[in-house]
């Protein structure tokens, strides 16, 4: 597909960083505010879709590399399962970091309060793993479908 006009490309250059940071904010605060792994990952993937549309498929292939996304996706998935395995001392998926005083281990204060980010144990780690996997996975889907659309358009025109 062709790239879009100069105005669109300039606005994309300014905006896509903020979209990615907003997506990571939603992923990281999943245990306090609405959101979490999947929702934040979908927002980050929409930034990649924006880049793909405004720069056209041929140019976007230079800076969005499918192999790196595939590697990130596998890393996210293995991190999720390995964190689940680490609780196997008690049960699978056991929250061994909650209320323990170490990383992400503060006690939750009952009542009305703005929420402490350092709580909830294993949940933020799993949110980050799922977010990594989702944005890499959705990025691969968008890139491969753009490839397929390019292929069929070439076939139609020939």
């Amino acid at each position: 597909m062709k790239e879009m006009s100069k105005i669109v490309r300039n606005v994309t250059n300014l905006v896509y960083g903020f979209i990615i940071i907003f997506g990571f904010y939603i992923i990281a605060h999943g245990h306090l505010t609405p959101g979490g792994g999947f929702q934040g990952g979908a927002v980050v993937a929409s930034a990649f879709a924006l880049l793909l549309i405004s720069y056209g498929q041929l140019n976007a292939k230079k800076f969005l590399n499918i192999n790196i996304f595939s590697l990130l996706e596998s890393c996210g998935l293995t991190m999720f399962i390995v964190v689940a395995f680490l609780g196997l001392g008690t049960t699978f998926f056991y929250n061994f970091l909650a209320n323990s005083g170490s990383w992400f281990g503060n006690m939750v204060i009952p009542g009305i309060n703005p929420g402490d980010m350092n709580t909830a144990g294993v949940l933020p780690l799993m949110n980050i793993a799922v977010g990594l996997e989702v944005f890499a996975g959705l990025g691969i889907i968008v890139l491969l479908m753009a490839d397929g659309a390019e292929f069929t358009k070439k076939k139609e025109n020939s």
Partner: protein
Amino acid sequence: MNLSNHTPILILAVPLLAAFLIPIIGKINKKATGIFATLALGLSLVLTIILAVKILSVGPQIYVFGAKSSLLTLPSGLKFPIRIMFQIDAMGIFMGLITALVSFLGAIYSLAFIDKKDGSDSYYSLLLLLTVSMFGMEFTGDLFNFFVFLEIASMASVSLICYRGTDLGEPVEAGFKYMVVSSIAALMVLFAIGIFYGEYDVLNIAAIASVVKYSQLDKIALGILVSVLAMKAGAVPMHMWTPDAYSEAPAPITMILVAASQASLYAIFRVVFSLYNITLNTLAVGWIIIIFGLLSMFIGVTMAIIQKDINRLMAYHAISQTGYMFLGVGVGLAVLANPTALQRYGITAMEGGIFHIMNHAMYKGLLFLTAGALFFRTGTRNLDKMGGLAHYMKYTTIFFIIGAAAIAGLPPFNGFASKLLIYESVYKFNPLLSIIAMLVSILTLASFVKVFHSAFLGPKLPQFKEVKEVPRSMVFAMAVLSCIIIFFGLFPDLIVKNLVHPAVMSLIEQFKYTSTVLGGM
């Protein structure tokens, strides 16, 4: 850390971890992916056998995720379980053994069948995910967890059916049909789960079973669940996807798809026997399941006789054999409320039906693998073009004879044992059903004689001059299945007394399912 407590989850977690590591390993070395997948499935098979020995000697096992101890179903004064749990009784581990064996042999067969193209690491990853989802469907004790595993199974199997779709168009069409059918089935299952949640506020199967009252909404949910899960299992008014999907998938995947359809069959039995507990109107629902069975048997075998494509013929036979399972268990369900009839023939009918599940997985798997071997060497699936292959492929011929004799119900093989149990007990219930079953068996034998004659007998054909025997790993997988068929046929008593009878008892004794979780209520 006592590892034997964690066996139920390790059976799933090891292939899952392997499935996620395979794309990383595939970037380094392509051949290692197949061996890694086979090792993971072999470990799973060993763990399943260990768990089966423990369940058959001690009793049903529970595993609660994320709790302080794996048996803590009701923490600190709560009346209903709130965490997701696995609840494995004798029927669940029976299906689990079938899944573990079939997946392991499928992975070994795939080592030679799948040539090392680009997508072979995603093939093994999807095969492991399909196995994990089948284990999950058979072990889980939570309704929504069952829905999630059902969706994973349907997506993994659609991707595997379309595996040859980069060059040909027909596998993609078959995959599309199967995807539409699976999506509707899974969404309707979610609708029924929503009905249960809205009424009773719990999602655990044992917890719902202890509070279910057979209200109007429950009847709607029962209708939706039984018909939709029968659609996934391949019963007759809804069987249109089965010949396409089973014939266009690669041969080891078809063997695993047969086991996946049987996992949906297990889900019907779990819903009808354990979820609805004693409130169900067993005569009416039993007769509905018997009607599904009769239609499937008859239409399956009559459509199979006229086929020219060997895989489609075997797929129609798979539909007809599923009818036998529906018939056996349906008769058992219909007489559940009647204790004398249950003792006389109900339990035998259910034993026949459930034993037939394992026998069918074995011999139908063997037949699909032999058809795959024929396709691998000759490149065609059309029976008119094949002929005289017994001169070149001796081992495949022997395995095909064993598989065909088993499916027709000839004596020293295992099909005879389970079919005899079904014939005898169904005759006492209603003689007409048993006569139809015997007629279907005769037609099955006729169609396999036709296949054997077309494909294997006859003079040597010139276009098959370079055809040799298939590679060693494929012969190994087929040989293991043949040995199991012969062993089950010679000693059916051992298997029925130790594996099948506890499974039937765990379905019939409905209170035991709830009391294991809720502690004696």
